[in-house]
């Protein structure tokens, strides 16, 4: 199932569904990268609240997506990693080093707005 990408102002929000396949993630990476340019987005929030597992492949893909967004000029943040999921990731040795995370969608949006406003002020 493709992951829907919504636009809120100049922020793109991708909400991942429970039964996430490898293909969905690969598609999300391409689509986000494309949409950042086409819609001139300044931020990307990836909501993984519905995910009950983040395995090594999904972790690697999310990191790739966040770094790609950054290189495309958008601030990326992953939100909603559930307590059990976080614990399991730590046990397995998985991390999202170098990637911004936030508690939930609200915090994620606030973070992106803060960062993009700051960068605007500098300009």
């Amino acid at each position: 199932m493709p992951i829907p990408i919504l636009k809120q102002g100049d922020i793109l929000v991708a909400s991942i569904v429970a039964a996430l396949t490898d293909r969905d993630l690969l598609q999300l990476k391409d689509e986000l990268s494309d949409k950042i340019g086409r819609l001139r987005a300044r931020g990307v929030v990836i909501d993984v609240t519905a995910l009950d597992v983040l395995d090594s492949f999904a972790t690697r893909m999310l990191r790739g997506i966040a770094h790609t967004a950054k290189l495309r000029g958008a601030e990326a943040v992953i939100v909603g990693i559930q307590p059990d999921v976080a614990f399991a990731m730590v046990q397995l040795g998985l991390s999202l080093d170098g990637v911004e995370t936030a508690l939930d969608l609200e915090e994620g949006l606030a973070h992106v707005r803060r960062v993009t406003q700051r960068s605007r002020r500098v300009q």
Binding site: A19, F57, T59, A88, G93
Partner: protein, 132 residues
């Protein structure tokens, strides 16, 4: 749900099926939600290894383990086998571009881990976790 489930692993969507079935089985067996997540994660890693390295295989999960409450997961394939099992169990080692955490990680989060693999003979990995 019966106490045994068999999932054929042939494409990446089967990985999702396997880990969802595994979680349901673990829940029915009485595992905490934290343990269910660890079990689902281990299944995900083993099933992905089948897709990536062997193309096809199967995951058999069972909670009928005699007196002790627990879950056993057998991931079996007829793929190329593992050249160096010791190396494959080392954190960060990978022959593909993965993180190399799947196999050692799956071993870390389960209570028991057995691997039977030889080049050209396929791989069978058996993992178990007990309800605490």
């Amino acid at each position: 749900m019966s106490s045994e489930t068999r999932v054929a692993i042939e494409r990446e969507t089967d990985i999702v099926t396997a880990r969802q079935n595994g979680r349901e089985l673990a829940a029915a067996c009485g595992f905490s939600s934290t343990d269910q997540t660890l079990i689902a994660l281990a299944i995900s890693e083993l099933a992905r290894n089948i897709v990536v390295y062997a193309e096809r295989g199967e995951v058999v999960m069972s909670t009928a383990l005699g007196d002790r409450r627990g879950i056993e997961i057998i991931a079996r394939d007829q793929g190329p086998g593992i050249q160096d099992v010791e190396l494959a169990l080392r954190d960060g080692y990978s022959t593909t571009k993965s993180l190399g955490l799947g196999l050692p990680g799956a071993r870390r989060v389960m209570d028991e881990f057995e691997i039977d693999s030889a080049p050209g003979k396929g791989t069978t990995i058996t993992i178990r976790k007990w309800v605490r």
